[in-house]
Symmetry: C2
Subunit: 352 residues, 2 copies
């Protein structure tokens, strides 16, 4: 039995996650998973009507669930940042989802902007620290709005916070790396406090994983390698802000936001899964949005709910959709959002 | 009259900057520039022999020069970071070189790792703040080396520091942009103190430049755009750490470190110019290192010394070298480092 809180959110969030739910419901039936869904309306509509972003009673209710499945938040009528911070970041911090898991996987060679790189070359995972670093929200202003103004923003790393995400990354590399190999990405040559801690944590934790190959890249160098030699990576672990940057770069080399998935994971508690793309208000409600990332997010959630055997099945179905051009127009097909979802279910069914 | 302090540094630094000096000496003769060079030996050799990295008497002496021309620092016998911080960062901060100017310019289509992007598409400049932000070096440890350890690293932005680099960027966009267009890159949706200051500075400064098109990208989004649509950029202004990251990504899309140039500029005082590549100890002393970035750095220095008319001439000579394959083996040619320098001088001569 798993209770899934389902937050479609804004714009295309509703229609793309509907396809994810479709796939989940099919698998639930076929494999007796005992999934239950409950929908929560959070997002721009609610905020504009009531002023509520994420009220306490909703937070308390969410605590009783096993997992959260999120569509997208953001609306042109709301100042950028408000909903992202008030819902997305809030949930990450509140549920202490200390791992942001971002697979960088190219499904179709022509999607990548990189010359000569195929699906074998672009297939790694970024494990981003998701609850501290410069996302702590700590800082301030001195003499604001004067020529002498000083603004500070604190990057805070705790040994506990860094240790646990590095441990997760090592274990992920052991279980899911093509080869067991973990790269730590930091700027330890300049961030001599916060990233010195990262260095020490990585080295010490690494002693427990002698079977995992271990190496280090500075963040500036890693962006170069990601576009020149992405094939050298298996699992990368990094801090919150660098993770933010390199996972978006990664999303682009894997073919853009249409395929990028994000798991906000607390292995001991409630995790949250979402497509990386935004709410795309310009195409919302037209049944033309690409649902593949939302479906892959649902697939990733299954692993966290203890059905890891089904995650690759979902990925295979998505791969088939791409190969058979059963996709939306942004990916070169002519199906509607709903039709893509239907195809995926049929595809899964046909393989039983 | 211009006095140039010349710091070849480590590894290939000596042989590549020798070609830059060759080109400068030729132009000096041809155009009566009155350039004088004095060599300073800083780097690993000196550090290993004497323990000195950048002694005060050298710093004082450097103050009497008009410009600094640097090769590369770094040596496998010295712990990474020591020389970079002790020489490179030290000079940037000491001389308050608040602009790091990094042209991202593709000279030859096949050098880029990006599909379908030609030399017209990859041609923009990053103006990186170079003296503050998270490079301030401020932070500390609490309960170091215990499980309860906390490490902090402070990002500090001052209104004065941000205003001046944004002003520089606007003026650079006016003078050198393909069209006058300036993009600010930050993470203002999360760094609600430090990058809120950036936002306000950009908006207010922008009022003085109504002829310059102005837009904004979050740092995560900009890395995506840089690999998918680099043609949309003309001049980008950003903070120290994001500048570090996106300029290296930029170096890669323009064909790798072999062509990347960095100007550390204090418009009112002493600036420093360097190729971005490292000291490459493995190929040092063999006369095979690619000198083009070092030569381009010399060309960029000429502009700062008041000979901006000569900078494009140097760039043209480099372009000719590439077109005629008068380059080193890493770029597909078979010339030695020295021969490339000689070719560039001949090429410049032939155009008088
Ligand atoms: C929306 C924003 C606050 C968020 C972040 O910076 O973490 C997003 O970019 C992401 O990567 O999920
Ligand atoms: C060597 C290092 C300290 C330096 C930096 O981070 O600024 C380098 O990466 C650069 O971009 O010039």
């Amino acid at each position: 039995m798993s209770n899934i809180a389902y937050i479609p959110g804004d714009g295309i969030g509703e229609e793309v996650t509907r396809q994810g739910i479709k796939v989940l419901e099919y698998l639930d039936n076929a494999y007796n998973l005992g999934l239950k869904f409950e929908k929560f309306d959070l997002g721009a509509e609610r905020y504009l009507k009531t002023g509520d972003i994420l009220p306490d009673d909703v937070l308390n209710k969410l605590e009783t669930f096993d997992s959260i499945y999120l569509g997208a938040v953001g609306d042109p009528r709301v100042e950028p940042g408000i909903l992202e911070k008030g819902i997305l970041l809030k949930l990450r911090f509140y549920f202490d989802q200390y791992v942001n898991l971002r697979p960088i996987k190219l499904y179709k060679e022509e999607f990548s902007p990189l010359k000569g790189k195929g699906i074998k070359d672009i297939d790694f995972t970024v494990v981003r620290e998701n609850t501290e670093g410069i996302y702590a929200g700590i800082g301030g202003f001195l003499k604001k709005d004067t020529p002498d103004e000083v603004a500070t923003q604190e990057m805070i790393s705790t040994r506990k916070g860094v240790d646990r995400v590095i441990k997760y990354a090592f274990e992920y590399a052991q279980e899911f790396g093509r080869e067991p190999k973990l790269t730590v990405c930091d700027k330890s040559n300049v961030l001599t406090y916060a990233h010195n801690l990262w260095q020490r944590s990585f080295k010490e934790m690494g002693k427990n994983y002698p079977d995992v190959e271990q190496n280090h890249f500075l963040v500036d160098a890693i962006t170069m390698k990601m576009v020149r030699n992405p094939e050298i990576f298996d699992v990368i672990v990094t801090c919150n802000i660098f993770g933010d940057i390199i996972t978006d770069l990664g999303a682009e080399i894997q073919g853009g936001m249409g395929m990028a998935v994000s798991g906000n994971i607390n292995p001991e508690s409630i995790s949250m899964f979402e497509p990386v793309h935004g709410s795309a208000p310009d195409i919302a409600g037209q049944n033309i949005a690409n649902p593949l990332a939302a479906v892959l997010a649902a697939g990733m959630m299954l692993r966290e709910l203890g059905h890891g055997n089904l995650t690759p099945k979902v990925e295979e179905a998505v791969k088939d959709a791409l190969e058979n051009n059963m996709v939306t127009s942004d990916q070169g097909g002519d199906l509607s959002t709903d039709e893509v979802g239907d195809y995926l279910v049929q595809n899964l069914k046909s393989k039983e």
